[in-house]
C-alpha cells in the first residue's frame, strides 16, 4: 500500500474521456437527475452544455447554484441523489454526474473564471459561526445579496468537516482552499482560530444585524465500554488527526474500525492507504441495510478492508474486543492495536448556550439563525449547502431584503 494519501483516488476525466461520458447522457425530457438534488443542482443542464462543448456555460450552471460545486463533485453520494433515477440505467449504468461536475469545476479553476459576483451593498452585516459547508455557502449567498459577512472559525483554516473529516484522497485540501478563496474574493472576512462561546455569541448578536450558527456536529461520540481505553479513538478524531498531519501518523500494526457509515469507511480506507496491514471493519448493520454510500463501501473493499457485518461489540478488555452477531449464534474476538469508533457525532451548539437538540427551524431566536448539520435533515455536504442557502434567504428576508 504505497498509495499517496494526498492523491485523489478517483482519476479525473480528460477532455477526450469527458466527451465519452457526456455522450452517454441521453439528454432526457424532464430529466430525473435535475429533480433529485437536495441543493437544486441541474445536472441535465450542465451535462448538455458539456455535450455541446460549452464548458464555460456548464461551469456557470454549477457555480451559480453552488458555492461548493467542486467539493460536492467529489464527496456527494450521487448514487442516492441525482444518479438514482438516471434513465441511462435502463441501458447499462447511470451517468457519472459527480465526475462530470468535477471536470467542469476543474475547468472553471484552470481557466480562472469569475462567475459569482458581489451584490450591491445593503450596508448590513452578518456574522457566521462556523466555516464548514453550510457557513461557507450561506456566506456566498449573503455576499451575492450585498451583505457584509464575517466568518468565525475555531480552526486555523475554514472548511470544517471538509478539511477535518473527509480524507484527502477523496477531497484534496487544495480544492477546499480554492472554494474558500473564491468566497473570500467576494468579500468574506475570515476570523480563524476564534472559538465562539455563549458570551461571544451575545456580543455578536449586538455587533451584527444577524448571526448564523453553523457549527456542525463535530463532537465525537464513543461507546461506553471503550471509555478510557487507550487503544480507542473516535472516527472523526482519528480522521482529523490524519488530516492535520497530512497522513504522517504513527501506524498501528492492525486496526479495527467499528461502525458502518461513511466515517467508518473513510477511516478504514485511510488506514489501508497509509499502509496498515490488517484493517477490519465490524458493523452492527448488515450489508443489506448499510448506511455508508455504495461508492464508499466499494472503495473500502477495493483497498482490501475486511468488512464483517451484523456484529456488535459486547465486551472489551484492553486490546481485545468481543463481538456477537445480532441474529445468528456467532461470536468474534479480535485483538487490535487501534479501535476506531465511528458510531456517530453530537452537535457542537451546546457550547454556545443553545439547545443542543436538533433545530427544526432555521430561525432560532431573535436575530440568530441556524444552518448545517445541527438542523434537521440529511447530514451530507450537499444538504448543508442547501441549508446554507435557505438560511441566507431567511436572513435576507428578516433584514428586509426582497
Amino acid at each position: 500500500m504505497t498509495q499517496d494519501y494526498k492523491k485523489e483516488l478517483k482519476p479525473a476525466y480528460t477532455m477526450l474521456t469527458i466527451m465519452e461520458e457526456a455522450g452517454r447522457c441521453l439528454l432526457c425530457y424532464d430529466a430525473p437527475c435535475s429533480k433529485s438534488c437536495p441543493a437544486g443542482t441541474d445536472p441535465a443542464r450542465f451535462i448538455r452544455s458539456v455535450r455541446f462543448r460549452n464548458f464555460k456555460g456548464a461551469a456557470e450552471t454549477i457555480r451559480g447554484n453552488n458555492a461548493l460545486g467542486a467539493v460536492c463533485a467529489r464527496v456527494c453520494p450521487t448514487e442516492n441523489y441525482c444518479q438514482l433515477g438516471c434513465s441511462r440505467s435502463g441501458i447499462d449504468k447511470p451517468i457519472d454526474i459527480g465526475g462530470i461536475q468535477r471536470f467542469v469545476t476543474d475547468f472553471e479553476e484552470k481557466t480562472g473564471m469569475k462567475i459569482l459576483e458581489k451584490g450591491p451593498a445593503t450596508g448590513k452585516k452578518v456574522a457566521i459561526v462556523g466555516g464548514g459547508p453550510a457557513g461557507l455557502q450561506a456566506a456566498a449567498s449573503l455576499l451575492q445579496k450585498g451583505y457584509e459577512v464575517d466568518i468565525y472559525e475555531k480552526n486555523e483554516k475554514p472548511g470544517g468537516f471538509l478539511r477535518n473529516g473527509i480524507p484527502e484522497y477523496r477531497l484534496p485540501n487544495h480544492i477546499v482552499d480554492v472554494e474558500v478563496e473564491r468566497i473570500a474574493g467576494l468579500g468574506a472576512k475570515f476570523c480563524c482560530g476564534t472559538e465562539v462561546d455563549g458570551a461571544k455569541l451575545e456580543e455578536l448578536k449586538k455587533d451584527y444585524d444577524a448571526v448564523l450558527v453553523a457549527v456542525g456536529i463535530g463532537e465525537a461520540q464513543i461507546l461506553d465500554m471503550f471509555k478510557d481505553n487507550p487503544y480507542a479513538c473516535p472516527g472523526i478524531t482519528f480522521l482529523a488527526e490524519v488530516a492535520k498531519k497530512g497522513g504522517e501518523i504513527d501506524l498501528p500494526d492492525n486496526a479495527v474500525v467499528i461502525g458502518g457509515g461513511d466515517t467508518a469507511m473513510d477511516a478504514a480506507t485511510t488506514l489501508k492507504i497509509l499502509g496498515v496491514q490488517n484493517v477490519t471493519c465490524v458493523t452492527r448493520k448488515e450489508l443489506a441495510d448499510f448506511r455508508a454510500s455504495r461508492e464508499e463501501l466499494e472503495t473500502a473493499r477495493a483497498n482490501n478492508v475486511t468488512i464483517i457485518d451484523g456484529y456488535a461489540p459486547v465486551e472489551v478488555d484492553g486490546k481485545e474486543v468481543k463481538f456477537k452477531h445480532r441474529r445468528l449464534k456467532s461470536e468474534l474476538e479480535i485483538e487490535a492495536d487501534l479501535f476506531v469508533l465511528a458510531v456517530g457525532q453530537k452537535s457542537s451548539a451546546g457550547k454556545l448556550g443553545l439547545d443542543t437538540a436538533s433545530f427544526e427551524d432555521i430561525h432560532a431566536d431573535g436575530n440568530v439563525f441556524v444552518a448545517g448539520d445541527i438542523v434537521q435533515g440529511d447530514k451530507t455536504v450537499v444538504a448543508a449547502v442547501q441549508k446554507g442557502k435557505d438560511a441566507a434567504e431567511a436572513i435576507d428576508k428578516f433584514l428586509g431584503g426582497k
Binding site: 477526450l16 455541446f52 460549452n54 464555460k56 456555460g57
Partner: protein, 413 residues
C-alpha cells in the same frame, strides 16, 4: 456570468442573435415556432410555402440516419417536401407569429413552379407580415421537377424567379442554394443579378444513407422501394463550409446565411468566421430540440469574450483571407511529429496507420510498446497525430526541405 450582445444586422434586418431555424419540419406551424422563439432563437425560416394548388403528399416513414460506432445521427436523410398545411393556414400562422413576436425575425420560405407563382407567393407572405423572404431553389426531394434542386442548378431560371419575387415584394430576399452542383458561384451570381440581397447555403445533399442488405432496398423502405433524398447533419458541415468560403471568395462581401451541420457554438463560430452572418439549423433541433440554442448562444458569448470582440460582425469573414488556392500554399518545410511517451498508452495505432496509410516512418519498440519517428522517411503528414486516441502526438521539429529558402522560425505552423 457572461453577457455579450449577439445581435447582427443581415440584409437590413436586426436579429437579436444569429440563430434561426432553417426552413424544414422544425418550423412547420404556429405552436412550434412560438416555442422556438420562447426558447431564445433569433429568427425562424418558416417551412417552405408553395402555391395553393400544389398538394403535398408525404411518404411514411420518411427519415434515415447514418451512424458510426456509438454516435447516432452523424448524418441524417429526410424525404419531406415543403409545408403540408394549406396556403391559408400557413399565411395565418405567419400573421399570428408576427403579431405575437414582433421583435423576432420571421422569414418566409417560398417555392413555386412558375414566375407567376413566385411573384404571388412573395406578395402573400409580405402581406402576412414576414420580415424577409427566402427562395427555396434547392429542395432535392420534390415530386415536381419544376421545383427544387433541379431549378437551383440553372442560373437563368434562378435569375428569372428572383426577378419575379422582387416584382411581388420589396422585402429583403435571400436565395437558398443547392450543394448538388460543382460551382455554386454562377447560380448565386445570377440570383444576385435577379435581385436577391443575400445567399443562403446550403440545402441538403442528394443521398442514400443505408441499404437493407437482406431486402436489398435503400432506407427508408416505402412499400419495397426507396428514393434519393436530402442529407444533412454534422456530416455535411465540411461541405457547407466549403461552399460558404467559395461564395465569399467568388463574390466578395456577399451576405450569407450559413446552413449545414451546426450543432455546437464552435460549429456556429466556424460559419461566422468563413463569412456567414446568420445561421440556420434543423437536424440538431430534430435530434435534441429547440433547447440547443441555450448553449449555442452562451458558448458564442464566451467565445466573443475570449476573442475580445463586442460585436459578432467583427468575426464575420475573419477566416476568409486565410483560405488560399492549394498552389499558393507554402510547400518549403516539413513539421515532424513529436511523441509524448508519458501520455502514450502503447496502443500502436500510430504505427499501423503510418505503415498502412502513410510512409512507414514509425518504428515500434516491441518491448516498451512505444513509437519513434524516422525523420528520413517521415513526410510530416500528421496522420499519426489524428489517429492517436490520447493526443500524445503533437507538432515537433520544423525542418526546411533541402535547397529551400527561409527558416523554420518564421513558419506559422
Amino acid at each position: 456570468m457572461v453577457k455579450k450582445d449577439l445581435s447582427v444586422e443581415f440584409l437590413g434586418v436586426h436579429f437579436e442573435n444569429p440563430f434561426c431555424l432553417s426552413s424544414s419540419p422544425v418550423g412547420n406551424c404556429y405552436e412550434m415556432c412560438a416555442k422556438c422563439y420562447d426558447a431564445g432563437w433569433g429568427g425562424i425560416v418558416f417551412k417552405t410555402i408553395g402555391p395553393a394548388d400544389f398538394l403535398i403528399d408525404e411518404v411514411s416513414p420518411r427519415f434515415d440516419a447514418l451512424t458510426k460506432e456509438g454516435t447516432p445521427f452523424v448524418g441524417f436523410k429526410n424525404m419531406e417536401q415543403i409545408a403540408e398545411h394549406s396556403l391559408e393556414e400557413n399565411l395565418a400562422d405567419l400573421r399570428k407569429l408576427k403579431e405575437n413576436y414582433p421583435d423576432k425575425v420571421l422569414i418566409a420560405s417560398i417555392m413555386g413552379p412558375t414566375e407567376k407563382d413566385w411573384e404571388e407567393l412573395a406578395r402573400l407572405v409580405t402581406e402576412a407580415g414576414a420580415d424577409m423572404i427566402e427562395m427555396n431553389l434547392s429542395c432535392p426531394q420534390m415530386t415536381s421537377h419544376a421545383m427544387g434542386s433541379d431549378v437551383g442548378t440553372n442560373p437563368e431560371l434562378c435569375k428569372k424567379f428572383c426577378q419575379a419575387v422582387k416584382r411581388g415584394s420589396s422585402l429583403p430576399m435571400m436565395a437558398k442554394m443547392t450543394p448538388n452542383i460543382t460551382d455554386m458561384v454562377p447560380v448565386a451570381q445570377a440570383c444576385l443579378e435577379g435581385g436577391a440581397d443575400g445567399i443562403a447555403a446550403i440545402n441538403t445533399i442528394k443521398s442514400i444513407c443505408n441499404v437493407d442488405l437482406n431486402r436489398k432496398i435503400g432506407l427508408p423502405i416505402i412499400n419495397g422501394k426507396s428514393s434519393v433524398s436530402g442529407y444533412s447533419g454534422k456530416a455535411v458541415k465540411p461541405v457547407a463550409l466549403r461552399f460558404v468560403q467559395q461564395l465569399r471568395d467568388g463574390i466578395p462581401g456577399v451576405p450569407i446565411s450559413g446552413i449545414g451541420g451546426i450543432e455546437t457554438w464552435e460549429d456556429a463560430a466556424e460559419f461566422l468566421l468563413l463569412g456567414a452572418t446568420t445561421l440556420q439549423i434543423t437536424t440538431a433541433v430534430m435530434q435534441y430540440g429547440y433547447r440547443i440554442v441555450e448553449d449555442l448562444k452562451n458558448g458564442l458569448e464566451h467565445y466573443m469574450e475570449e476573442q475580445g470582440v463586442d460585436s459578432l460582425m467583427d468575426l464575420v469573414g475573419a477566416a476568409n483571407g486565410n483560405m488560399i488556392p492549394a498552389e499558393n500554399l507554402d510547400r518549403d518545410y516539413v513539421v515532424y511529429p513529436e511523441f509524448d511517451n508519458d501520455k502514450c498508452i502503447g496502443c500502436g495505432r500510430c504505427y499501423i496507420s503510418c505503415f498502412d496509410g502513410a510512409h512507414q516512418a514509425i518504428t515500434w519498440d516491441d518491448e516498451k510498446r512505444r513509437p519513434s519517428c524516422d525523420h528520413d522517411k517521415c513526410v510530416g503528414c500528421h496522420l499519426c497525430v489524428l489517429v492517436c486516441p490520447v493526443r500524445a502526438i503533437g507538432k515537433g521539429e520544423i525542418v526546411m526541405k533541402p535547397g529551400r529558402k527561409g527558416s523554420p522560425e518564421e513558419k506559422a505552423v
